[in-house]
Subunit: 296 residues, 2 copies
């Protein structure tokens, strides 16, 4: 990781955590437990990749961080809810996430379901508030595109396909579509959100969206590689679960070398999309290189 | 039930089901199972009370049904998601809903979680689409107020309080607050949505909101009474669960007669809010009378 990227990621984490703290405060009321549960997972660490992409894409258009950090917080809320629900016993049944007990292990299953359920509308509330952008049309576009990315045609649909992977043998096109929906949709939205807030041209917005999709896929392939090459200690969660469950991954379909090559090619393509923005897109270039070289 | 109300409820069901069919179609793709699961619960019948309130409140302001039926569909999506998740084994653990297997019994738990998760963004997508209203500010207000009503300060918060009712002894104020959040928030939103679409004055909007809150509370007290007076066959779901779980209800706190009187008083107050609209609010008066006289 370049020093500039490390600094930018750290600064982003701080900014987005301050925003999340204000948007999702503790509550002294009887419903306080659901806020505690939401906050437990919102502040469980993580790379804050999606918030970073929102801020960095917004920076290309000089979007003030008071605006872009709200979109960054919103996408982290959606991402966090999806992790809480994915970890549930009826889904991936995971006990650890980022080295800590998963939400339903720390609280209980019912509370974890509710915390996820409440993070979704909080994300939309955050985007739709006038503080995100003075122009109602811009807020509307952000919320509409997020709803599409998060729903049955996007992230949730991808998770539905993934759940069936243990009993269905997918080919490479199907795995690619699955991952584009499950992971790519939110990552692409993060990049697009910066463009929407920045009043980007259609061409600029599309370039950032494609960058996001390619980055998301490279990220997922790298995840598959880490899943078989890392220990649970390094990853802070259970590993090699896909192979044990007999699920097809990019590695079973392309081989380890083929998967590495494909990830590098995707990063190359994603980086080329940034030519439109010249030198000032250096952080987005750095993060693209980072997603395939990371060790956790 | 008055014949006019019976006709209006039937017409509303047909309108909203046609809208839901278009907004949540089946899918031939690999993720089709989540659409099947969403549709299973969306089309499981039910009174369609919330959609009816949207349409009837909108009718006071001559809101075209092409508009109001979309807000009606959106609130039914949120209501349906909440039922799917509330029925889960980790929540109320119900096997029957409206006389049919609950979603997780018909599909499986993971699919039921995902179906609920996908209905939330679909509701926001539906509201935010230009077809709901040409004015972006109106769509925004609808979605923002729904996000607030559905989240941790509204419905989900109410469910969190309710889950703790087995181990905490609530007083009447606390039970009232719980129900205002859990049930009242969505019912009040339904009435308010008609007012928002109808460009109502602040006074008209507030009257409809208060009508909705009082109606919602009366509805809940009537539910508590039905819960102890009806058989599972009449209700199409398990009954007397609150009493068995040792939870306080309006009846344990006020007695059966006290609860009946309170429900009647709430309906009286709710009806008085409608004086502002004169004779043309007759369907909203009829439905208020109906919620405490219904047998299921």
């Amino acid at each position: 990781m370049t020093p500039a990227l490390a600094d930018a990621l750290k600064a982003c984490s701080e900014e987005v955590e301050t925003a999340l703290d204000g948007l999702c405060p503790t509550s002294p009321e009887l419903e306080g437990r659901v806020f505690d549960s939401m906050r437990y997972s919102l502040f469980a660490g993580g790379k804050r990749l999606r918030p970073f992409l929102v801020l960095a894409a917004g920076d290309l258009f000089m979007v003030p961080h008071e605006s872009s950090v709200r979109a960054a917080a919103a996408i982290e809320m959606i991402h966090t809810y999806s992790l809480i629900h994915d970890d549930l016993p009826c889904m991936d049944d995971d006990d650890l996430r980022r080295g800590k007990p998963t939400n339903h292990r720390q609280f209980d299953e019912a509370t974890a379901v509710l915390a996820g359920d409440a993070l979704q509308p909080l994300a939309f509330q955050t985007l739709l508030d006038a503080a995100t952008d003075p122009d109602a049309g811009i807020r509307l576009e952000l919320a509409q595109s997020l709803a599409r990315a998060a729903g049955a045609d996007g992230m949730v649909g991808g998770q539905m396909i993934d759940l069936q992977a243990e009993t269905t043998s997918y080919d490479l096109d199907q795995i690619t579509r699955l991952q584009n929906m499950k992971t790519g949709a939110l990552i692409a939205w993060s990049c697009e959100a910066g463009a929407i807030l920045g009043r980007a041209t259609a061409k600029e917005r599309e370039a950032l969206r494609q960058y996001g999709l390619e980055l998301g896929l490279a990220f997922q392939i790298a995840d598959d590689i880490l899943d078989i090459e890392s220990t649970p200690e390094e990853m802070g969660k259970a590993t090699a679960k896909d192979a044990e469950a007999g699920k097809e991954t990019f590695i079973t379909l392309m081989g380890l070398e083929g998967a590495r090559e494909r990830a590098a090619e995707l990063v190359h393509n994603a980086t080329a999309r940034l030519d439109l923005f010249g030198e000032r897109a250096f952080l987005l270039r750095d993060v693209a290189a980072y997603v395939i070289e990371r060790r956790s």
